[in-house]
């Protein structure tokens, strides 16, 4: 029966390939049904598995961790395209297994959706779980944050492998207490950076100690609820970090971790946390320091994550923001830059975005500095326009263009620096529209 199911799965993969289609999810879905929802248990994996989960930064961290091992000469299997649900992981393994379901590799590095961690790794033995952060994200799809954390916490209760946690995120760090017997819990943290604040700046989740209900106190907030926290009553938050990023200077940008200086390419505090997580994995698996240096210093992102375009002679930076934290970070980067600029915000409400767009009201637009004009687009172009208007921004400077090409034309009409924020399903269409403009009027992807 099992062999038959694998055979069917493999045939579907082949057929899709013959049709030049991406076999990212469909074979897994078929197998999932055939196996009565236990598709992942079909496979026999003898090598270690590293899984990466969290709301923001999974794809970046997964790719960097994979590079650490690839450059060390290991044979990896990785879901680079981010098919991170159980069905996606199943499709990936189908492509790499033999007819008996045996998966041959030195290591599996798997980006895994937060809500799918328990289901996938109750069926496959996990060596290391890296948890980056938990933010509000697509609330109507994921359910409330607490439900999600409870799910992963339930998994961690019996997990004895390496657990690498963001020690500056109380929502994440609490997982470290799920299994008191697990001696392999390791926290990564970062010291105060130049734009850290003493009070909370943006709407956030998890202000109370999950163990005793007391309000958490913070030495500093880096962004959202990420920062040096502690429970004054039960001491939650008191632990020795495994690795800490310090001497963070985003102008250069540089930071130090474990006494070693790194010069990443991306100048955001997110990236510092992501790269510290990467450095933690490198430390755990004794990766050659030269390799870690190379990976961290060369890592840069495409696919609409701080991606630059030229619209004629006007520079535009596109960033994905699928939740308020992401959007607030982009606004900060925009504000920290001198001179006047214009913003295009593309907001969609397709199923993958979460149908509810009210999260945009958790974005702090009142900090706008030297923003001379705003163009809005997407299926919910008017919602984001109303939101920006009610933050006190002059409505006469807001232009609504639901059609993306018209929106980009409008943005590029005037001179100066441009920023583009797009949510999940809006990113690819926005990239295409920016590229179409460049092809027509000169410029290009940079």
């Amino acid at each position: 029966m099992k062999r038959l199911q694998i055979l069917i799965g493999k045939i579907i993969v082949k057929l899709l390939r013959l049709m030049h289609r991406n076999a990212g999810n469909l074979p897994g879905i078929v197998l999932w049904h055939l196996s009565r929802h236990k598709a992942v248990s079909m496979f026999k994996v003898d090598c270690p598995i590293i899984a990466i989960t969290g709301t923001n930064g999974k794809t970046s961290v997964t790719n960097c961790i994979a590079q650490l091992f690839e450059k060390s000469g290991k044979k990896l299997i990785i879901n680079r395209e981010g098919n991170n649900l159980d069905t996606g992981i199943c499709s990936l393994l189908l492509r790499h297994c033999d007819m008996k379901g045996r998966v041959k590799a030195d290591l599996l590095v798997l980006e895994t959706d937060e809500s799918h961690v328990p289901v996938v790794y109750s069926q496959l033995k996990l060596d290391t779980l890296v948890v980056l952060n938990f933010f509000r994200d697509q609330l109507d799809r994921n359910g409330e944050m607490e439900t999600l954390i409870q799910k992963i916490n339930g998994f961690c209760k019996t997990f004895e492998g390496n657990l690498i946690l963001n020690g500056n995120d109380p929502n994440t760090a609490r997982l470290g207490k799920a299994n008191p017997k697990n001696k392999n819990v390791k926290y990564f943290t970062a010291e105060r950076y130049q734009f850290a604040t003493d009070t909370i700046f943006e709407a956030s989740e998890g202000r109370f100690c999950p163990f005793c209900g007391e309000t958490l106190t913070y030495d500093y907030y880096q962004y959202s609820h990420i920062g040096k926290f502690r429970c004054p009553k039960c001491g939650f938050g008191d632990y020795t970090p495994y690795i800490t990023a310090s001497s963070i200077d985003l102008e250069k940008p540089v930071f130090t971790a474990d006494g070693h200086a790194y010069s990443p390419r991306l100048n955001s505090i997110y990236n510092v946390y992501n790269m510290t997580a990467v450095a933690a994995v490198a430390k755990l698996y004794n990766i050659d320091q030269k390799i870690t240096d190379e990976v961290i210093s060369k890592y840069t992102v495409k696919n609409g994550r701080m991606e630059n375009f030229m619209l004629g002679d006007r520079k535009a930076t596109l960033n994905l923001a699928k939740n308020p934290v992401g959007a607030n970070m982009t606004l900060r980067v925009m504000n920290e830059m001198n001179g006047e600029k214009e913003l295009l915000f593309v907001l969609n409400d397709n199923v993958a975005d979460g149908l509810d767009v009210s999260w945009i009201w958790d974005i702090n637009f009142s900090i706008f500095e030297r923003v001379t004009r705003v163009v809005t687009s997407g299926t919910r172009a008017y919602d984001i326009a109303v939101r920006i208007k009610c933050s006190g921004y002059d409505p006469a400077k807001i232009v609504v263009k639901p059609d993306l090409d018209e929106a980009v034309e409008e943005l590029a009409r005037t001179e100066g620096r441009k920023f583009v924020i797009a949510n999940y399903t809006a990113v690819q269409p926005t990239r295409s529209a920016l590229k179409r403009y460049s092809e027509k009027h000169g410029g290009g992807s940079k």
């Binding site: 439900t147 009210s358 009201w361 958790d362 109303v386």
Partner: protein, 246 residues
């Protein structure tokens, strides 16, 4: 200059789904008209304010855990809130705030959280957490004699029963219970609803109904609000009405 005073309760705990935006919108619409709008916050363990000194009390929605946290504290405010409500203070209640003002809330595990009992409806969550009323919603309400179509987003497990005077008739979506005919609870000085979005973002008539109520409290002559340019808000609503009702 006219002024109104709002008490935003548990703003730091019940601010799921952008409900904090409702206060931003109230302030914005008051400021445009030269009405001073003071929003004070109250949270667990703050000193008890004089509830009756406020024109409007606002409570938003939150995650289940946070709701449990506040219900105990809320009970301690019962007398003050009751007195304020009876003396005409407006109650604007979203989702969790709506539920907590009823008789009780029974969660998915069967635990009963006592409500404030200001109104005689109650809420029961289905035993499966997966059964939730989620999606865009349109209701038709009557405000100051005018029929208004209100657009929002609902996301609630709790099924609210025993409502005698609902806020609106459901044109699209679920309402108080799954596939129910009506949504929310309404009195002259109460709007209680499941609508997030936030509720006021696309529905300026709802904000203005409350602002008008507040500025006219104790006024000797009827004060009419100066109209505002709501083109963006109205276009925003029209996009959704066209999508959901056609």
């Amino acid at each position: 200059m006219k002024s109104i005073k709002i008490l935003h309760m548990y703003a730091d705990m019940l601010d799921l789904y952008g409900d904090g935006g409702n206060m931003e919108i109230m302030k914005y619409r008051c400021a445009k008209r030269g009405i001073e709008c003071q929003v004070d916050s109250y949270s667990i363990n703050s000193p008890k304010p004089d509830f009756s000194s406020y024109d409007l009390i606002y409570i938003g929605g939150g995650a289940d855990l946070e709701q449990q946290h506040i219900s105990e504290d809320l009970m301690k405010c019962r007398e003050g809130i009751m007195k304020a409500y009876k003396s005409g203070t407006f109650q604007f209640l979203i989702c969790g705030g709506y539920q907590l003002m009823g008789k009780f809330y029974r969660d998915a595990d069967g635990n009963e959280i006592k409500g404030l009992g200001l109104f005689d409806y109650h809420t029961v969550a289905p035993s499966s957490r997966k059964l939730r009323c989620i999606g865009n919603i349109v209701i038709r309400a009557e405000l100051d004699g005018k029929s208004v179509d209100i657009v929002g987003f609902e996301n609630h497990g709790g099924q609210t029963k025993g409502v005698k005077t609902p806020f609106g008739k459901v044109l699209c979506g679920n309402g108080n219970c799954a596939s129910s005919e009506f949504e929310g609870y309404f009195e002259k000085n109460v709007i209680a609803t499941y609508l997030h979005g936030p509720c006021l973002s696309k529905n300026p008539e709802v904000s203005d109904y409350m602002i008008s109520y507040c500025v006219n409290r104790g006024a000797s002559e009827k004060i009419t609000l100066q109209p505002l340019d709501d083109k963006l808000e109205n276009d925003c609503r029209k996009v959704m009405l066209d999508r959901l009702l056609k």
